[in-house]
Amino acid sequence: MISEKRIILKNAGRINPGKIEDYIAAGGYRSAGIALEKDETEIIDIVIRSRLRGRGGAGFTTGLKMKYTNQSGIISPGRYLICNADEGEPGTFKDRAIMENDPHLLIEGMIIAAYSIKASKAYIYLRGEYFRSNELLSGAIRQAKEHEFLGRNIFGTGYSLDIEIKTGAGSYLCGEELTLIESLEGKRGYPRIKPPFPTEKGLFGDPTLVYNVETLSNLPLIIEHGAEYFSSIGTADSAGTKIITISGDVINPGYFEVEMGVTLRDIIFELAGGIPDGRNFKAALLGGASGTFIDSTALGTPLGYDSLKSIGAVLGSGAIMVMNDQRDILKMTHSILKFFGHESCGKCVPCRIGNSVLTDGMEDIIKRRDKSRYNLDLLIYEADYMSKTSLCPLGQSPVLPLKSLKRYFEKEFRFDIK
């Protein structure tokens, strides 16, 4: 029987998230104090050695991003840390779990990250619909300032940091780091070409470190307990834990923090209680809309960036949406494609028109089945073309679920077999 391993969410349900005194009594802000006694290059080294990878979905080595930003900033004096709290991937609510249960953990993680690049200004870009998180984070920042964990001369070290919350207003695309920066600058959320990456040229043209909420929330425990401690948890390619959010046809939908390496079966059938109403498992969508479908043959796969990639799947945000044997794969595919169509900003012709083609094509397949002009291979061809010609991850995404359908659920698209 597997259980959760709560190293990030250790305070969840045990402290009052609105009281800094509770957080401090549980050992909070000690880690920031330790970090500020070190040289920033030492912090970067520890984070690299911990093997922490980005928890927003891309899985990039966290410490390297820090290192590049630190190095870029040599020329320009302005540097920024941005916490990406624009959680919008369907099926994902792990960042909300952190912000609503332990907002100070995020603040402390931000202090450590900002210090590593000597940024004196940090922003939390928080989605507009997360009202409770906004309340709690605003309170946490105010309390941290009162306790002098933020502001001028933190812990008497001479380091100063100001954190400001900026709320979004309903745009999935603003969760992509460069689009987020455009939005922060007061513009429409259109992506930029990369390179240059934010680490080199980000907010207001200055080196900017953009980190996901969960990524930042791992920093305090890494600094306090060390790189070796963190690296010893998890697997060879994925150190640490992951907060999984599971929804759909399971008895216990919700969030679970698990050690990397637990199997999908462990998560779906043990932690989440399996499929209700005596039904059977049919499929799971891993990583949200920009994710991949798997069938029961993949349930033994251990959780991790590379282990999932090896079976044609993605970890992504850590969202798992479970479908029972009564659910319609074609309808779900249509749902996903509609989502991308709604959220496309329209900047790139392939994405703007391509998503329309995919959505209409899928609708046609559902309506006219074997008489449809479209089929799965055609949709994949279109989506593949889009992924090569779109500026940002949104246009690059539809090909992921579609290709996974080819691998695991091709039969659903073959009407002659039925």
């Binding site: 959680e87 369907p90 745009s171 513009k187 759909g248 939908p253 659910r327």
Partner: protein
């Protein structure tokens, strides 16, 4: 708080545009951003009116048209759609006699759709102003609307 007071709370830099618009909308009794608002903001920030217009029309939570006291936003993303959001939306349309994007004649309710709210473990879900309602069954829209109409909440 009037418009000038709200504007003056922010340094006149373009990076404050979205925050200013959010504040203006939150303080507006009809939950929208008027043409006059946009002109004042453009003037305050010293940016073209078209830039302000561009931002207002891009973000789905911002509205250029007056809305009701209660803004109902039903999630239509994959998880909620799979678990029954279409039925919820249809029920709301039936009860309120309006389509998504419209406001009831008594100006109480505006019906809108939204994408993933990050409450997928309680699907299908919707938010009304800042309150979330989840695990919605076919009876719930009616009960919730009645509650709001009678001013219990």
């Amino acid at each position: 708080m009037n418009r000038t007071e709200i504007l003056n709370r922010f340094r006149p830099g373009r990076e404050n545009l979205l925050m200013i618009l959010n504040e203006l909308q939150n303080n507006s009794p009809e939950h929208f951003i008027s043409d006059e608002d946009m002109r004042e903001v453009a003037h305050y920030l010293n940016i073209p009116l078209s830039s302000v217009f561009g931002v207002v029309t891009y973000y789905s939570m911002l509205s250029r048209i007056p809305r009701g006291k209660y803004i109902i936003r039903v999630c239509r993303s994959p998880v909620c759609e799979m678990t029954g959001s279409e039925g919820i939306l249809e029920e709301l349309q039936r009860i309120l006699n309006i389509r998504p994007g419209e406001t009831t004649a008594d100006k109480l309710f505006t019906l809108e759709t939204t994408e993933c709210l990050g409450r997928c473990n309680e699907s299908p879900g919707m938010i009304i102003n800042e309150e979330f309602y989840g695990k919605l069954g076919s009876d719930d829209p009616g009960k919730i609307i009645d509650h709001l109409k009678s001013g219990i909440r």
